[in-house]
């Protein structure tokens, strides 16, 4: 065992939350060690496919037997592809156990899933923060919108969120760069819906973490729509484009890739963490690192895995388990259902450039007097596009005229999937599977999670409502669809170390401190108390910045 230098703070994980923790803590003067279990990915240099043309991939982005064999989980949905395979976890090295099917799509590298995320960025509102208390579900969020609003402001300005000011109580406006506008097809439906459904079902530009105006070290979006390859212009928010350079600039950051944190070191007399234990993923060497505070930002399930392996001499179920809630209340969003319809009268219109977002229809169910047989609600995310050559597969036709027709844009189709809230449920849990080991001999997680009756009832509306809106708006050939959704697939996993007001029923307090170790903060998706229906990453950023500010103040007051 190597003993190593002492830092002010250790941040575990370099994705969206960890990058923010590193930036905020170093900018406030702390010497920070940022630990990442995977390889380094250098900004721009390591985006090896970012400037490849479609024809330069042997399988044109498609799948092979070899890929399906190596990625048995990833192959269950769109992420398995030839173009950005290097940004997804090696599943042979890092297995897990599914008590029930749970599609866990991971990215173990510097930047984590900030390199591949969908970038949709929406604030939560008090409809979300108050929901558990009003419904008597799980526990109350220990914070309200007002406490997070300045931190949303703070992170949005640095991350660069393009969006429109809409004045909707359920989707607060933010510090936006100019929105990426609706195209003519989307504008048509938005206009026709304005005076229907009491004006409650609105089509607005998707709010996206792609800069529309240059930021420090970052160009504005070039509309290549190739974000998930890594952006050579740094136009979308990632750790690499945004938080890591800011942290590095302070001169106080040490980044160590290939560092698997296996345990938080805990001093039971002082009731404080003293640091972390690290296994070098390449050399298998163990090192203990010491720090005054520890931020766990290792991703929703992995931060909890780490707690379960820590301070087990005091609590057999791990650090933070005294409430009995550690590992419980796992959530995701349920989606993959919605509707589409063909738009007429726009055949003389097209668009130019690859816009990396689409439209958003904010939640309208169970709000403002609407009352359904289920709790909470959903939003829709989609786009209107002119169909490309792929429409030819199912159409009758071969030969010259067919080819020339399929080389030109087809009809306008407006379509979207709903993203629905999933209720927290104590029965949805994760734990250590001591019978299965990963490449490094570490026990893996077992996941036991399923959606319930509330989601089933909500899903009927998720399928029906958009079809109804499209009919009302005059779309033709309206079709609704539902291809089924398993937890994990939305890649919005949340919960397992929830915040709360009471150490008996929650793992973290209102400042994301572990009740049983106040110098340990968890600010990734693990901390979430409910799931809302908005994409959660922007809220992780705001919670992280808020907790980092609190931690530094507490350090100054010698409370940690």
């Amino acid at each position: 065992m190597v003993q190593s230098a002492k830092y002010d703070a250790i941040v575990v994980g370099s994705g969206i939350s960890g990058g923010w923790a590193a930036k905020e803590l170093t900018e406030k003067g702390l010497r920070v060690l940022l630990l990442e279990r995977g390889r380094n990915v250098e900004h721009i240099k390591d985006y090896v496919n970012a400037v490849k043309a479609p024809w330069e991939y042997p399988h044109r982005g498609g799948r092979t037997h070899a890929m399906e064999e190596a990625y048995p989980v990833l192959k269950r949905d769109y992420p398995l592809n030839e173009k950005n395979l290097a940004f997804w976890v090696n599943e042979k090295d890092c297995p897990y156990t599914e008590v029930k099917r749970f599609d866990w799509f991971r990215g173990y590298q510097v930047g984590g899933r900030s390199l591949t995320w969908g970038r949709q960025s929406y604030r939560w509102s008090d409809f979300d923060f108050e929901a558990n208390a009003k419904d008597g579900i799980a526990v109350d969020w220990p914070i309200r919108y007002q406490e997070l609003a300045p931190w949303y402001d703070h992170v949005e300005k640095h991350a660069g969120i393009a969006g429109s000011v809409e004045g909707m109580a359920q989707l607060p406006d933010g510090q936006f760069q100019p929105a990426m506008p609706l195209n003519c097809g989307e504008e048509l439906i938005a206009r026709r819906l304005k005076n229907k459904f009491g004006g409650m079902r609105r089509v607005i530009p998707g709010r996206i973490a792609n800069a529309t105006q240059a930021l420090e070290g970052r160009s504005a979006c070039q509309y290549r729509k190739a974000c998930w390859l890594g952006c050579p212009f740094g136009a979308y928010f990632s750790t690499q484009s945004s938080t890591l350079p800011a942290a590095a600039k302070t001169g106080k950051l040490t980044l160590k890739p290939w560092s698997i944190v296996t345990e938080v070191l805990y001093d039971k007399d002082r009731k404080r963490a003293t640091g972390v234990r690290v296994l070098d993923a390449v050399t298998d060497q163990w090192t203990d690192y010491q720090a005054k505070i520890v931020f766990l930002c290792a991703s929703t399930l992995n931060s909890t895995w780490l707690l379960m392996r820590s301070a087990t001499d005091v609590w057999p179920e791990g650090l933070g388990s005294s409430s009995g809630e550690l590992g419980h209340n796992l959530m995701d969003h349920h989606f993959r259902c919605g509707a589409e319809g063909t738009l007429e009268g726009l055949d003389d219109k097209y668009y130019y450039g690859g816009r990396p977002t689409g439209f958003y229809i904010p939640r309208f169910r169970n709000l403002f007097g609407d009352k359904r047989e289920y709790l909470r609600g959903f939003g829709y995310q989609g786009s209107a596009d002119r169909k490309g050559w792929a429409r030819a597969v199912k159409e009758l036709g071969v030969g010259a005229a067919f080819k020339d027709e399929m080389s030109t844009p087809g009809p306008w189709v407006f379509g979207a999937t709903a993203f629905g809230e999933m209720l927290p449920n104590h029965a949805n849990n994760i734990g250590l599977d001591l019978t299965k080991k990963d490449k490094w001999g570490l026990p893996v997680l077992k996941i036991d999670c399923a959606t319930g009756e509330n989601e089933r009832l909500m899903r009927k509306d998720m399928v029906f409502d958009l079809a109804e809106m499209l009919e009302e708006a005059g779309a033709k050939q309206v079709k609704s669809w539902d291809v089924g959704s398993y937890p994990g697939m939305a890649i919005h996993e949340m919960g397992t170390a929830r915040m709360g007001r009471d150490p008996k029923t929650s793992v973290l307090n209102a400042h994301n401190q572990v009740w049983d170790a106040p110098n340990v903060f968890i600010t990734d998706g693990s901390c979430m108390v409910s799931s809302a229906c908005q994409n959660p990453s922007l809220t992780y950023m705001a919670l992280t910045a808020r907790a980092a500010n609190f931690a530094v103040n507490e350090l100054k007051r010698r409370n940690l």
């Binding site: 721009i44 240099k45 090896v48 970012a50 400037v51 490849k52 043309a53 479609p54 024809w55 330069e56 042997p58 399988h59 044109r60 498609g62 092979t64 037997h65 990426m180 506008p181 609706l182 195209n183 504008e187 240059a214 930021l215 070290g217 970052r218 160009s219 979006c221 070039q222 509309y223 290549r224 729509k225 190739a226 998930w228 390859l229 050579p232 212009f233 740094g234 055949d347 003389d348 219109k349 097209y350 668009y351 130019y352 450039g353 690859g354 816009r355 490309g388 050559w389 792929a390 597969v393 009758l396 071969v398 030969g399 010259a400 080819k403 020339d404 399929m406 080389s407 030109t408 844009p409």
Partner: protein, 212 residues
């Protein structure tokens, strides 16, 4: 705003030049990493693969003719010029399951024997008109099979698709993602630089080919 005209500099540039051009117009304003980016571009492999899986040269030539009958040269080059036969062979080898592979290669035999039956000539020796007439028939047969599957998804989802649907799908994918398909049949702009949400469109103007 109107789409890029023929005079627009971005239209005429290849992707390396396009990135250089955009780097230049962005200048020092906010573009960091330009040097690394260019280094990546210089080392990125430009060559597509010519691998053709387990298929023989003759079989690839046969697939080229099928693809070229579906997507012949018109005002833009056809599927054969885009080497679509080799792509089909590679995808069947690397991506299809054993049962689908069998259906596909049986399908190649069936195309040939149907040609002999219909016109007393092998597919390779048939005229473009004879080939087209046959594929129109097979296309209708495949379309009936697609419609039946969609009407009854549970009974059919484990059964392989009609062989001609496989051939047509692979030909379309191979062609429209090829350099010819992107750059000539469609319009491919590596770095559009802006988004115009609504531009005039005249009939016959090609689609935008997507990047990723």
């Amino acid at each position: 705003m109107i789409p890029l005209s023929e005079e627009d500099p971005l239209r005429k540039l290849n992707r390396r030049e396009a990135i250089r051009y955009v780097s230049a117009i962005l200048g020092g304003v906010a573009f960091t990493g330009g040097t690394q980016l260019l280094a990546v571009i210089e080392t990125a492999s430009a060559a597509g693969s010519n691998t053709a899986g387990d298929f023989t040269t003759e079989q690839i030539a046969f697939l080229d003719e099928i693809a070229d009958t579906i997507l012949p040269a018109t005002k833009t080059p056809g599927a054969k010029a885009a080497k679509v036969g080799a792509f089909m062979a590679l995808m069947v080898t690397d991506g299809y399951g054993p049962e689908e592979q069998r259906v596909f290669s049986d399908g190649m035999q069936r195309v040939d024997s149907a040609m002999r039956e219909q016109a007393q000539v092998s597919f390779m020796k048939a005229t473009p008109e004879q080939r087209l007439a046959l594929l129109v028939t097979l296309d209708r047969e495949a379309k009936r099979s697609i419609d039946a599957r969609e009407a009854n998804p549970n009974q059919t989802k484990t059964k392989p698709a009609h062989y001609f649907r496989m051939m047509k799908e692979l030909a379309l994918l191979g062609y429209f993602t090829s350099e010819i398909g992107c750059m000539q049949a469609q319009r491919y702009v590596e770095t559009p630089g802006r988004f115009d949400p609504c531009v005039p469109y005249s009939p016959g103007e090609p689609s935008w080919a997507s990047h990723a």
